[in-house]
């Protein structure tokens, strides 16, 4: 059902295909996150995903890209975040990769513990895990793969 997407360039963002996967290389600028969310949302709507599932994926994209920009790339404008996504009739897969040094996601403290509840940060990964069906990090932590099944 999905038509082949052409390659094209946007200001600051390069969009291309890798096999079936659409890939967007975005600079570490928060304005670019909307661009990714809109593109994925349009694909999801084409395949008939419901609004709750679209919301969940939108949230996970926000959290994962913000993490990649802030923590992975340390907001270095010279570094990019690579976002790949595939949407079909069964599931959405989103991959987000930064160009930073990596980290260990298992070392992120549990934000629901009493001593962490009033801290303003540390909830991104938790929300990704709660709203997506699968969240997997690469060994060095620079890439996360998230999957959401169609309801």
């Amino acid at each position: 059902m999905a038509a082949r997407r052409p390659q094209y360039h946007c200001l600051g963002t390069r969009i291309h295909m890798e096999g079936r996967r659409q890939v967007m290389d975005i600079p570490s600028s928060v304005d670019e996150i909307c661009r990714v969310q809109t593109a994925v949302h349009e694909e999801m709507k084409r395949f008939g995903y419901d609004d709750d599932t679209c919301f969940a994926v939108k949230l996970a994209i926000e959290e994962s890209i913000v993490n990649a920009m802030k923590h992975g790339n340390r907001l270095d404008p010279k570094l990019s975040v690579h976002v790949g996504y595939e949407v079909d009739d069964h599931r959405v897969q989103v991959r987000v990769r930064d160009e930073g040094r990596g980290f260990n996601p298992d070392e992120v403290p549990d934000p629901t513990r009493d001593e962490n509840l009033m801290k303003p940060t540390g909830r991104g990964i938790m929300l990704m895990r709660a709203y997506m069906d699968h969240v997997t990090y690469s060994e060095n932590g620079t890439e996360v793969i998230m999957v959401k099944r169609k309801r």
Partner: protein, 109 residues
């Protein structure tokens, strides 16, 4: 995101409409800070028009809540939409914030 503030009965009511995404976080922080200064650290955040919130925006509300609490005031949440309630529940921030269904009740001491 649209943010409007009015002062009523000695507290600020700050209305947030739209997406509290990463691009809105700074505006949220400034609005909460200003309203706390103007209303003696008593702020009711009307979330009925908010349809999205990211973790950094949650952080802005948390910081304001903690500052208000330290100063003897409050930051209370009013009428969050269902998806926002779910996020508050998932993050267990419903244990930190007082969440109200009516402005009248939220403004009571």
């Amino acid at each position: 995101m649209d943010i409007t503030t009015e002062t009523t009965e000695g507290a600020a009511v700050v209305r947030f409409a739209g997406a509290a995404d990463i691009s809105a976080v700074e505006a949220i922080r400034r609005a909460l800070e200003a309203s706390m200064q103007n209303a003696g650290n008593r702020v009711v955040c009307d979330l009925s028009g908010m349809d999205f919130i990211c973790s950094d925006a949650l952080g802005a509300f948390i910081s304001a809540h903690e500052d208000a609490r330290e100063a003897g005031g409050y930051v209370r949440l009013l009428q969050p939409q269902e998806r926002i309630r779910d996020i508050l529940s998932t993050t267990q921030l419903n244990r930190l914030f007082d969440i109200y269904d009516s402005l009248e009740t939220a403004l009571k001491v």
